[in-house]
């Protein structure tokens, strides 16, 4: 049995020994050309270090600049002015609204 086995192995080696694997370069190319999915995964897994002090300072400055800008805008447009209630003909109106209606009436 063992002799039969070794003879057959020898015969197969003889018949197949002219065959050589020639696809090394294709394998290497495939390994180098990573897919988009792999690239994204690599990017997402990348470790980055953020210095806490400079980053938090930048965020704080941005927040403050937006906050002060909105306060200045509010003042400029007078959105926060107090509304005045007035009485006319036994009814109570917002002064601003009443003036608008009166001006419209005058125009017509």
């Amino acid at each position: 049995m063992n002799k039969e086995r070794s003879n057959l192995k020898e015969q197969l080696n003889k018949e197949l020994n002219h065959l050589h694997f020639l696809g090394q370069q294709k394998v290497l190319n495939h390994i180098h050309n990573k897919s988009w999915k792999q690239r994204i995964k690599l990017f997402m897994n990348k470790e980055i270090e953020l210095p806490i002090l400079p980053v938090s300072t930048v965020f704080l400055l941005l927040f403050l600049s937006f906050a002060t800008k909105s306060i200045i805008l509010d003042d400029g447009l007078g959105r926060n002015k107090e509304k005045i209630l007035i009485e006319a003909g036994g009814n109570v109106y917002w002064k601003e609204e009443l003036l608008k209606v009166e001006s419209k009436d005058e125009e017509s």
């Binding site: 192995k9 197949l16 696809g23 390994i31």
Partner: protein
């Protein structure tokens, strides 16, 4: 440092060394199983790519050869199934590739060079299940227990396939002799 450890450390020269060391062996096995040089080479290429990607899963570097063989066997099985379907419904790609094959391909390597291909031809004529067992037993020199592990089947199944395969092989070789 062992090749496996070098690959785990993404040493690309290591995969080259592995291809150098096991490429021919895997290709020859794949040719016996698939009967087609082109398909066999692609199966071996995919084997190395998978091995590179999954090298972390190989715990014992000493088992590298049998691990590569297992991957290659799975690749050949998958291709054999696809191969069968391709022949039932041949697509334009196959027709074109067959035309190309007529011009000049690696098949010439198999048939040519004045080498007697009696044994290879006979093994390739066996049904896949017998071809697989005969190849692993005689060419790869695996033990029956090892073949059972590789093919994820029972030892008795391997033994009976080996017995039947051997008889079929003898018949085929006898017929060849009679014709010759």
């Amino acid at each position: 440092m062992h090749l496996v450890n070098r690959i785990k450390q993404i040493d690309e020269k290591a995969i080259n060394d592995i291809m150098e060391q096991y490429g021919d062996y895997l290709l020859r096995t794949a040719v016996l199983l698939l009967k087609d040089y082109q398909e066999a080479e692609e199966a071996v290429q995919d084997t190395f790519i998978i091995a590179y990607q999954k090298m972390e899963q190989l715990d014992d570097p000493k088992k590298l050869k049998s691990w590569l063989t297992a991957i290659m066997i799975n690749q050949c099985r998958a291709r054999f199934r696809k191969w069968s379907w391709k022949h039932v419904f041949p697509s334009f790609d196959i027709i074109n590739s067959q035309k190309d094959d007529l011009n000049q391909t690696h098949d010439d390597l198999l048939i040519g060079a004045d080498t007697k291909q009696n044994m290879v031809d006979a093994i390739q004529q066996l049904d896949y299940k017998y071809r697989e067992v005969i190849t692993l037993y005689y060419f790869n020199e695996y033990k029956i227990t090892e073949i059972a592990v590789q093919l994820d089947t029972k030892e008795n199944t391997v033994k009976s396939r080996l017995k039947r395969g051997r008889l079929l092989l003898k018949d085929l070789l006898k017929k060849k002799e009679d014709v010759g």
